[in-house]
């Protein structure tokens, strides 16, 4: 048989494509949904840019995005104001949802998302300390503090909170209830520390920090968005490759160990990846709630898989944030921060999840 001869098989729903030396499992439902979601995300990106102070024609938007500067006003609005915000919304959605898919799989608990576990609050505590200490809001921050200081502080505190949740919840294995409870505690701690920080700064700084804390994409510009995006891309690729581990970790410590997985090492790797992704999301949009919680589970239900598929979750998250930001900014007479929209959409889902939690565990 020539080495590239492809054959496909379907064994009781397990589909595989095989060459002579390799074989690849695939799930038609996940693939088709992934394609549909990707198309929807592209459409939402266009809608996000097209809506603004004055609506722009989709054709002009597309031409401007592709570098056509023949209409200077449109070109400026699109590339300097709307595009960075759109890319920020996209990256925030991808990162938060991917992080949620990872933490939910590792903890084997649909409640265990970075916003519940305190990782985003921890990261936002780090960010707010920089905002308050170095001068509030992105506008008030000097270049270095904004592009390096704030992200670095957010990453550090995100990692510290994530590590604290892991260490405090770990006793002879990782118990998901304990992790969620410890996480809720840390979440409360980080939130109250952040509130306390706000009382230290002057009123203007505190006001700006407060808006940021609600989760806002307002005024995100390229100097922040570009490095964060470049950081996010490789992490997102890694997260997609971690999917195979996540499936096995979802069987619990003993079974996964029995199958030859070094559970401790892989769990720490996966959780670190999730913390970094969640921190990127937090740096860009503040502690946006419910994206990381809801998107992976929506993707899991749509794809009918046992654990949330990372790529589909990330696309769902991106769609969620892009639409939420479009709606929050333009649907009402008053422009709202995106965090308000995700919270309004997400809170009923959280209630539903808690009520149905028992049924989801087998």
């Amino acid at each position: 048989m020539p080495p590239l001869m492809l054959s496909s098989s379907n064994y009781a729903g397990i589909r595989a494509l095989r060459t002579r030396r390799s074989s690849w499992r695939w799930n038609p439902r996940v693939l088709i949904l992934g394609i549909i979601l990707a198309v929807l995300v592209f459409a939402a990106m266009g809608v996000h840019v097209a809506y603004g102070g004055l609506p722009l024609a989709y054709g002009d938007v597309l031409r401007s995005l592709l570098g056509d500067a023949s209409q200077p006003r449109t070109y400026l609005a699109v590339t300097e104001f709307r595009a960075p915000r759109m890319v920020a919304a996209l990256v925030v959605g991808l990162c938060l949802a991917a992080a949620g898919a990872i933490t939910q799989s590792v903890a084997r608990n649909p409640l265990a998302s970075p916003d519940i576990l305190g990782i985003t609050s921890g990261a936002s505590f780090g960010a707010v300390s920089v905002l308050v200490i170095a001068g509030g809001g992105y506008a008030g921050l000097s270049g270095l503090a904004a592009t390096v200081g704030l992200p670095a502080a957010a990453f550090t505190m995100g990692l510290v909170t994530g590590a604290a949740a892991y260490v405090l919840a770990y006793r002879n294995g990782l118990d998901s209830y304990r992790l969620v409870l410890v996480g809720l505690g840390l979440n409360g701690l980080a939130t109250s520390l952040t509130t306390w920080l706000l009382t230290l700064g002057d009123v203007t700084n505190a006001g700006q920090a407060l808006t940021w804390m609600m989760g806002s994409l307002n005024g995100r510009d390229w100097p922040l968005v570009v490095p964060m995006t470049m950081f996010a891309v490789p992490l997102l690729v890694l997260a997609c490759f971690a999917g195979r581990w996540l499936e096995l970790l979802s069987f619990g410590e003993d079974t996964a160990t029995g199958l030859g997985i070094r559970t401790g090492r892989i769990r720490v790797l996966c959780l670190s990846l999730a913390v970094l992704l969640a921190s990127i999301g937090t740096v860009l949009a503040g502690p946006l709630t419910f994206v990381a919680l809801a998107s992976p589970q929506i993707a899991r239900i749509l794809c009918r898989t046992a654990v949330p598929p990372v790529a589909a979750s990330a696309l769902t998250g991106a769609l969620f944030v892009l639409l939420a930001d479009t709606v929050a900014a333009h649907a009402l007479p008053v422009s709202l921060p995106v965090g308000v929209a995700t919270a309004v959409l997400g809170a009923p889902y959280l209630i539903y999840l808690v009520l149905n939690y028992q049924r989801r565990l087998t």
Binding site: S9, A12, I14, W24, N172, G258, L259, G260, T362
Partner: protein, 297 residues
């Protein structure tokens, strides 16, 4: 063999020969295979525990190759802990577990998983998983990231499902199965792992008697057909005696007695280990010891 049946306690010793693998005259037709495969499992000076609390202390055990070994003992005696130690789920506090003569801690985890499979007491799977998908996970130790489901994997999963009589339910969701079927599906996963050693932690828990027998018959078939070494923790002493070639009785983290069912399952031992007064008679069907409890000693 049924002539050996006698309703009084004196029957304790009558089953001695029948239970022993080396007794050709009375050996049942499904006698254990004579040629053991290569992988050996043993413990040397093994201590195990949790949070600084030692549960198993300085234990030596040689698991007989290609035989079914059952670990019995009262609750909290450390039998499940021992099984976890043997299956490297729990690292030793002191001593070592040897797989093929080499310390378990020196083996790469994946290499262990190609030689030894383990079914935890209450294995958990995420919901929405099909039986075939579950069983296919047993192939993980033999797969690479670019070899996710080869033709070899497919046939291994197929025969594991055949062996457990689940081929017709391959596409069903795990949560839709009955308790007995679900347990067979999990065992099927360990079969797909194609290991010489199989560790089962109370594989019959929560099953009614018919399904308990079904699972134990399956375990016996696996041992008889392929010469798999089986070590399991069982609560029911009579069932352990019926289906095992070797019994290890534990108390307070140590081994009190081990040997053939007839040698180990005696009224004296039950009193010593379980604090149970009981008559031990020979099972009229198999000749193996059968426990008739009288009361707490």
């Amino acid at each position: 063999m049924s002539t050996a049946f006698s309703p009084d306690a004196a029957a304790t010793r009558t089953a001695t020969a029948a239970g022993r693998p080396g007794a050709p005259a009375e050996a049942p037709p499904d006698a254990p295979p004579e040629a053991p495969p290569g992988v050996s499992l043993s413990a040397r000076g093994l201590s195990l525990g949790y949070d600084g609390r030692t549960v198993v202390r300085d234990l030596d055990l040689e698991v007989p190759n290609a035989r079914i070994t059952s670990i019995i003992g009262p609750n909290g005696c450390g039998k499940s802990t021992l099984l976890k130690g043997l299956g490297r789920i729990l690292p030793p506090i002191a001593g070592e577990v040897l797989l093929d003569g080499r310390a378990m801690t020196k083996w790469p985890s994946r290499e262990i998983a190609r030689r030894l499979s383990m079914l935890p007491q209450t294995p958990q799977a995420p919901s929405g998983l099909t039986v075939a998908d579950l069983v296919s996970r047993g192939r993980h130790p033999r797969q690479k990231w670019y070899q996710q489901f080869s033709a070899t994997d497919e046939s291994a999963v197929g025969s594991a499902l055949e062996a457990t009589d689940l081929a017709d339910l391959a596409a069903c969701l795990l949560e839709d199965l009955s308790g007995g079927q679900r347990q067979r599906a999990w065992i099927s996963m360990t079969i797909a792992q194609e290991t010489g050693i199989l560790l089962l932690d109370e594989p019959t828990t929560y099953l009614d008697l018919a399904h308990q027998l079904e699972v134990l018959e399956l375990v016996q078939r696996l041992n008889r057909a392929d010469g798999r070494t089986v070590v399991m923790v069982l609560h029911d002493i009579s069932l352990a005696a019926r289906y095992s070639d070797h019994i290890v009785a534990m108390k307070d983290g140590g081994i009190v007695a081990q040997g053939t069912p007839a040698d180990v399952v005696t009224a004296e031992l039950l009193e010593e280990v379980f604090g149970l007064r009981a008559n031990v008679i020979a099972d009229p069907l198999t000749g193996r010891p059968h426990v008739l409890p009288i009361g707490v000693a």
